[in-house]
Symmetry: C2
Amino acid sequence: MRKSKKERQRLLIETIKENPFITDEELADQFTVSVQTIRLDRLELSIPELRERIKNVAEKRFDDEVRSLPIDEVIGEIIDIELDQTAISIFDVKHEHVFKRNQIARGHHVFAQANSLAVAVINDELALTAKANIQFTRSVKENERVIAKAKVLRIDEEKGRTLVEVNSFVNNELVFTGEFEMYRYKK
Amino acid sequence: MRKSKKERQRLLIETIKENPFITDEELADQFTVSVQTIRLDRLELSIPELRERIKNVAEKRFDDEVRSLPIDEVIGEIIDIELDQTAISIFDVKHEHVFKRNQIARGHHVFAQANSLAVAVINDELALTAKANIQFTRSVKENERVIAKAKVLRIDEEKGRTLVEVNSFVNNELVFTGEFEMYRYKK
DNA sequence: ACTACTATTAGTACCTAGTCTTAATACTTC
DNA sequence: GAAGTATTAAGACTAGGTACTAATAGTAGT
């Protein structure tokens, strides 16, 4: 039996979400209805036409690129920074950051936030991580917001080394702590 | 004076690169030539039409998303593993992994490879990183291949802790070394 | 000045993937 | 059998093109 209108529209939404590049004709084939029906469905569901959908995807990418130009260098969003002193960033743990089995964030994401914050806080052309001593004190779950706070402990101009401490919290609870020894480039 | 053909085509390339969402008509206005001239130019320069351009942007975005999916499980590709003993993975440093300024890989990628290898080598339902002591001994550049080797040093059944050492190499040269204290879940 | 050549413009037919509108069926439910 | 919903069809129109033919403008060489 051909599916009911409701069911078809439910599937339509999913299908288009998964592949926005599909035409009405292909959809009509897939659901064995006429093209007109698909168009009525899209009208009812306010799903734009193929070209609009593609454009939206493309524009989003463009936005992301623009937005990620400064951010690209940092995992998480920097919300406060005082060069060579302190910096704070937030990182929202989403579905893609966790282990499927238990929804616990993979360590390297939490590390990446802290590490890139340590890079960002350094007031120089470029900084690289030389050493790090880290500890995950509590596991972070999906949908939690991690707030990382970096503090510059010591700057050794001679050696070009800087010691940065980063503590990350979820609801004021420490989830990660690390000491990063950063190598800094003088321009 | 209206620009020469060469000059116009040079600018055309740039203009479209900067804003792929521009139509021939708008371009014709901008260069005060006819639409046909713009189309001839595009033909000569093999620049696809607006809709194709938009589609390309959109598809690239989709590819990127797909590419980051496998990253979900392990960073790098595991090429050998003996549970609770050793494991080896390779990770090719691409454009998206490096700092734009100097093509040096961001620390967290190298860390992520090592960390996820440490997770993978553990023969249990799940492992989490508790602590880590790491050192970046040489910077890794774009297009280099990092080979990470994990070795389980000690298993403390009581505490449910496992100590894993990971050394990463580029051309047999040590670029990263770390000791990971992993917390393992018994099912 | 005449010719050759490139560059530009114009016009037409056709394409895709639609929109918007009107109208005819088909299916169900009472 | 009528009413209401769902589906399909048909036709006119749109944007942003391609592909092709043909006319015109400008410029250099002899």
